[in-house]
């Protein structure tokens, strides 16, 4: 495991990507003498973003089952602001160069891999706002992949847990839902570096994220 898989070291660290597993409430509590792991003391925007009011412990799922799952997760706060993880650091030439050195070969694509669910219109993806880079969110009875140039609707909206995967390469943005390609859009320009983004919806709790892994791939 590299340090960039530990959320406390996303600021200052170098890696082929960043990853986080939201496993305890201490992560989203304020940093203090008695809680040195609080992410807002480690370059995160937890407080200013108004996100992740709670970490909810799961425990009601079946063993390794995708059909019956209840993960421990960070949970969005109603009435809070949209959330961006931390400083812009993903997808630009500078981060590409770092990944090139750590991979030993030239990165070909950037992947945001998340296990998450949404209720009440919440959204997840990359960017500083809803239509900044690429976000998936509810669109009436459907889902939609949202980019600065418009939306592409697909599937049927639900509030179940899914493995969402955004793949960015020179050809554009491709969205996979549980391993199946569901939408593609043109690659936004003049938006990088960027960061992980979640949009707060109208209902509670929304969205919820168990983990994410954003990585360069050769």
């Amino acid at each position: 495991m590299r340090a960039m898989h530990i959320p406390q070291f996303h600021g200052g660290g170098a890696g082929i990507g960043v990853a986080a597993r939201f496993g305890h409430a201490d992560l989203v509590a304020a940093a203090s003498v008695t809680n040195q792991s609080g992410l807002q003391g480690w370059s995160w925007h937890v407080a200013s973003g108004g996100w992740a009011a709670a970490v909810v412990e799961g425990g009601g799922g079946d063993f390794m089952s995708a059909a019956d799952t209840d993960p421990t997760r960070a949970s969005g706060s109603v009435g809070g602001n949209n959330f961006a993880e931390m400083n812009a650091m993903i997808g630009d030439y500078a981060s590409f160069l770092i990944a090139q050195r750590l991979l030993g070969e030239t990165p070909r694509q950037l992947v945001l891999d998340m296990y998450a669910r949404m209720q009440g219109g919440g959204g997840i993806g990359l960017g500083n706002s809803l239509a900044d880079v690429a976000v998936v969110q509810q669109s009436g009875a459907n889902w939609a992949l949202v980019t600065p140039t418009g939306n592409t609707a697909f599937g049927t909206y639900d509030n179940a847990w899914h493995n969402w995967m955004f793949v960015l390469d020179s050809a554009g943005v491709t969205l996979l839902l549980d391993g199946t390609t569901v939408a593609t859009r043109a690659l936004p320009l003049d938006r990088f570096p960027t960061w992980i983004f979640t949009k707060i919806g109208a209902a509670n709790p929304t969205p919820e994220v168990a983990w994410y892994d954003c990585r360069w791939e050769a």
Partner: protein, 236 residues
């Protein structure tokens, strides 16, 4: 593009790569990284800001972090990274003083298939956005002070017209100045120190003696320096 054995195919892949600046002071390794700047890193360490690097062996003086985000995906031509900003006289950062002596090289050897390294490399992605003054007091490199035989082994600065590699007693003039981001690299060997801009050699100086170990230090006076990431590594 060179392939660095320490970071992929080596049997030691993953070992000895200190990939966060917090562990430079205490971590034994062969490759040391600083990347992804955030204001918390250059803010005084405290109970509410445990990530502040001055609590982890660094000296940080009035460094800001600027976040942009208007470049294109993976593009070197349309590129606005998040960076450390040193723009006011005496702004500086200084890493722990650990690089280039026998102890450091010997520790790196443990992570390089037990082969003694022959080079110490500083690579950084940065810019000299204000560069019109010929001064030794704005620089970045293996140095603990300005252009001096007692403190500077290999640091890049401006002479008002060109980039210069300064070695205290010696120097080498490189490409004409501009304000753009570049990939700078200094390779210190046992006898010769060579430097590169965007993988193009700029020349060499004699490797300086009786100075090591040194930190990575950046300091500005009238000129300015931006740094997005940096990597110090030993190579065989």
């Amino acid at each position: 593009m060179p392939v660095f054995p320490q970071d992929n195919a080596s049997p030691n892949a993953g070992l000895g790569v200190i990939d966060v600046p917090h562990f430079w002071a205490g971590g034994a390794g062969r490759s040391y990284w600083f990347a992804n700047p955030h204001a918390d890193l250059v803010t005084v360490a405290a109970a509410t800001n445990p990530t502040g690097l001055d609590g982890w062996g660094w000296v940080i003086t009035s460094v800001a972090v600027v976040e942009t985000g208007t470049g294109d995906f993976m593009s070197s031509a349309d590129n606005t990274p998040t960076y450390l900003q040193l723009t006011t006289a005496a702004d500086s950062f200084r890493s722990p003083r650990i690089f280039g002596d026998y102890a450091g090289a010997l520790a790196a050897k443990k992570f390089l298939d037990d082969t003694m390294p022959t080079k110490l490399v500083l690579e950084f992605y940065g810019a000299f956005p204000v560069n019109g003054t010929n001064e030794a007091t704005t620089f970045i490199g293996f140095a603990d002070g300005a252009n001096s035989t007692a403190t500077c082994a290999a640091a890049i600065r401006s002479n008002g017209a060109n980039f210069v590699l300064e070695g205290g007693a010696v120097s080498d003039v490189g490409a004409a100045l501009d304000a753009n981001f570049h990939l700078f690299r200094i390779e210190v060997g046992s006898a010769t120190t060579e430097w590169f801009i965007d993988d193009v050699s700029q020349g060499t100086i004699a490797t300086q003696t009786d100075l090591w170990p040194l930190p990575v230090k950046a300091l500005v006076n009238l000129n300015d320096i931006y740094v997005t990431w940096m990597n110090v590594r030993y190579e065989v």
